[in-house]
């Protein structure tokens, strides 16, 4: 959206003004600024423990974006999004362990397999008209059923799960001595994720997603193919979650059914970042993401030295507090300040 501004000629700051006067581009700028800051952390952080937190923070931004597209943009009550991450994780590790396929290909195959599961879920739920509460129940029920199946399926390790067959570190195997390369891979994924999210937000498809979120019946009445766009949102979100899962398993080096088919991890890895940051907004997963894992670790440490259960207490409280006091998240709060600031700069009284 172009805004008439009181500038004269070709100021060197003009492009910056062009960005700052548009809320969506400002969000994009903020997102990349955060990523640059994360990219600089290896200069200051030497401890592998803190580096691990930074890596997971970055990954959670990426997985948060994948859920934000489905739940935030198209408004689907997809609760157990983690099933897609699990599919990506299992695909990647099976391809690597059993067939020796490099994870660089494996994680994208994982994304593809997760997208297939996503299209199956979309097909079943749309075919049988499962909406809202029924859809939410279906996704949870599917997660429980998949957990039972994976526990019984010996090819993927059954109840024991699968550990990465560790060998000599190497770039082609995505196994490294130091944690820093993992950080840059996660950052690369997150960069792509942010760009995809921005492109979708500004495309016709994104507008259809949001029309469906606001009122599905009205969108259908206006000629939006709601089945197609619900499916697309789900498949895109699932594919990204699958890729995230592939990276996740390469980083944590093992996967087992109770760990990945779990609503607790789902809250931590998928939901917390977009909800704290502002569900449905562009900067939400990023701003929520940088608060999510570090804050949780901090509080967990303060609560009697990381006793079991404290992570869950922290995340449970996050969700409750966010919904009650900040339903539009950190981005929503910042947007308020931003509008005031822009009004002062432009002297115009307009809303986004």
């Amino acid at each position: 959206m172009e805004t008439p501004i009181k500038t004269s000629g070709a100021s060197p700051y003009r492009w910056l003004q062009g960005i700052l006067l548009d809320w969506d581009r400002t969000q994009l700028l903020v997102s990349f600024a955060v990523l640059v800051l994360i990219a600089l952390t290896p200069l200051f952080i030497k401890s592998p423990y803190y580096m691990g937190i930074v890596i997971l923070t970055t990954l959670y931004i990426f997985t948060g974006i994948s859920w934000n597209i489905v739940a935030g943009f198209s408004g689907q009550l997809l609760i157990a999004h983690i099933s897609f991450l699990a599919f990506g994780a299992y695909t990647t590790i099976v391809l690597y362990n059993t067939y020796g396929v490099t994870p660089w290909i494996g994680i994208f195959v994982g994304g593809f397999v997760a997208a297939l599961l996503g299209s199956v879920v979309a097909f079943i739920t749309l075919r049988y008209g499962l909406k809202m509460d029924y859809f939410a129940l279906f996704t949870i029920a599917l997660m429980v059923a998949l957990k039972t199946l994976f526990l019984k399926w010996d090819f993927v390790g059954g109840a024991i799960g699968m550990g990465l067959s560790l060998s000599e570190p190497g770039f082609g195997k995505m196994i490294f001595d130091s944690k820093v390369p993992y950080l840059y891979i996660a950052l690369g994924l997150t960069c792509i994720g942010i760009l995809i999210q921005y492109r979708i937000y500004h495309s016709k498809m994104g507008k259809y997603f949001m029309a469906i979120r606001e009122d599905e019946a009205a969108a259908a009445a206006l000629g939006v193919n709601t089945s197609l766009y619900n499916t697309l949102a789900l498949v895109i979100g699932a594919a990204m979650a699958g890729v995230g899962g592939g990276f996740y398993v390469m980083y944590v080096t093992y996967v087992e059914p109770p760990q990945v088919f779990d609503l607790g991890l789902n809250v931590e890895i998928m939901m917390a970042a977009p909800i704290i940051g502002g569900l449905g907004s562009l900067a939400g997963p990023v701003l929520g993401g940088i608060l999510n894992k570090p804050l949780a670790e901090l509080i967990r440490g303060a609560l009697s030295g990381g006793r079991s259960g404290s992570t869950l207490i922290v995340y449970g409280s996050f969700l409750i507090l966010a919904i009650l006091f900040m339903p539009r998240g950190v981005t929503g709060v910042l947007h308020g300040f931003y509008l005031k600031w822009r009004r002062r700069i432009t002297g115009a009284n307009q809303e986004d």
Binding site: I79, G129, D133, A136, F138, A141, G309
Partner: protein, 292 residues
């Protein structure tokens, strides 16, 4: 499968099903009155179990004597959660409601794990392995028989309360038409607190009834909650009788699935039932009758 095993499987199914029925009645009551799916439902069952465990260990009470304690405590907690949290999101987007209740669920699991650790806990009583032998060599485990009849009686009391008392009539009125009830002078926000409290208390009773022979971990409620979701869809969301019968049906279905497929994959059978209902009769067994 001969006749004895067939009958035994049905008995076992009904015994488990009676607990499903209690949990599902709680869920359907809350849904019927507030049109909100309680995603923290399983955690109230878990809490019921841990309260019984706590009363048994600290006060030395028999698990069955702890039922009133767990019902009362969970009732109060439920009313508080309704007043402080759920009430504020009743008019929000369903996603906000689900996220809030998931937050409550995560918080409750976390707190229990924090204070009681994730180690499996169990209660040992003298009668835990006692068995009655009935006709055709049927075997009735004493704790499960007691649980079955207690669940039946609890359901009946709740049903009579809803049907025969003025307060029960008010709950049913709110579930049929909230605005109409408001115009008739019914204190709707009180009814909401009462309903949420009752819904989770009856679930906690289910949990306490399980304690004498069921190992508890902080996430013990989740499979029960998932099954209860299947049950309320089967028995029409918001229908009391539907939830009761649906619970018994799913219990028997799972018992047969457990016999043929092995105990730990029986949840697949519930899922299959779930998908079949959604396919052929998404409105459930009891159609579109409105209200509890």
């Amino acid at each position: 499968m001969n006749f004895e095993i067939f009958m035994q499987t049905i008995v076992n199914g009904l015994f488990t099903g009676s607990i499903y029925a209690l949990v599902a009645i709680g869920l359907t009551l809350i849904y019927g009155v507030m049109i909100i799916l309680n995603f923290a439902h399983g955690e109230f069952l878990m809490l019921g179990m841990y309260i019984s465990y706590w009363a048994f260990t600290l006060l030395g009470l028999d698990p069955y004597l702890t039922i009133p304690i767990s019902a009362l405590l969970v009732f109060a907690l439920g009313a508080l959660i309704q007043r402080g949290l759920v009430q504020r999101v009743l008019d929000s987007h369903p996603l906000n409601q689900i996220i809030l209740l998931l937050g409550v669920s995560t918080l409750m699991i976390g707190l229990v794990q924090f204070f009681w650790t994730a180690e499996p806990k169990s209660i040992h009583v003298a009668y835990e392995t006692a068995v009655l032998t009935g006709p055709w060599g049927l075997r009735f485990s004493i704790p499960r028989t007691v649980a079955f009849f207690s669940a039946m009686i609890s359901s009946l009391i709740l049903y009579l309360f809803l049907q025969k008392t003025r307060t029960g009539a008010a709950i049913r009125a709110v579930s049929q038409n909230r605005n109409g009830a408001l115009l008739m002078g019914i204190d709707v926000s009180f009814i909401y607190k009462l309903t949420f409290g009752l819904g989770v208390a009856v679930t906690a009773v289910g949990g306490s009834l399980l304690t004498p022979n069921y190992r508890m971990i902080p996430t013990v409620g989740q499979p029960f909650a998932v099954t209860a979701f299947v049950v309320v869809v089967l028995g029409t969301m918001g229908n009391f009788i539907g939830a009761f019968l649906g619970g018994l049906i799913i219990g028997v279905v799972e018992a047969f699935a457990g016999f043929y497929l092995g105990g730990d994959v029986k949840i697949i059978a519930s899922m299959l039932v779930f998908i079949l209902i959604l396919l052929f009769k998404p409105s459930g067994l009891f159609g579109k009758k409105k209200g509890i």
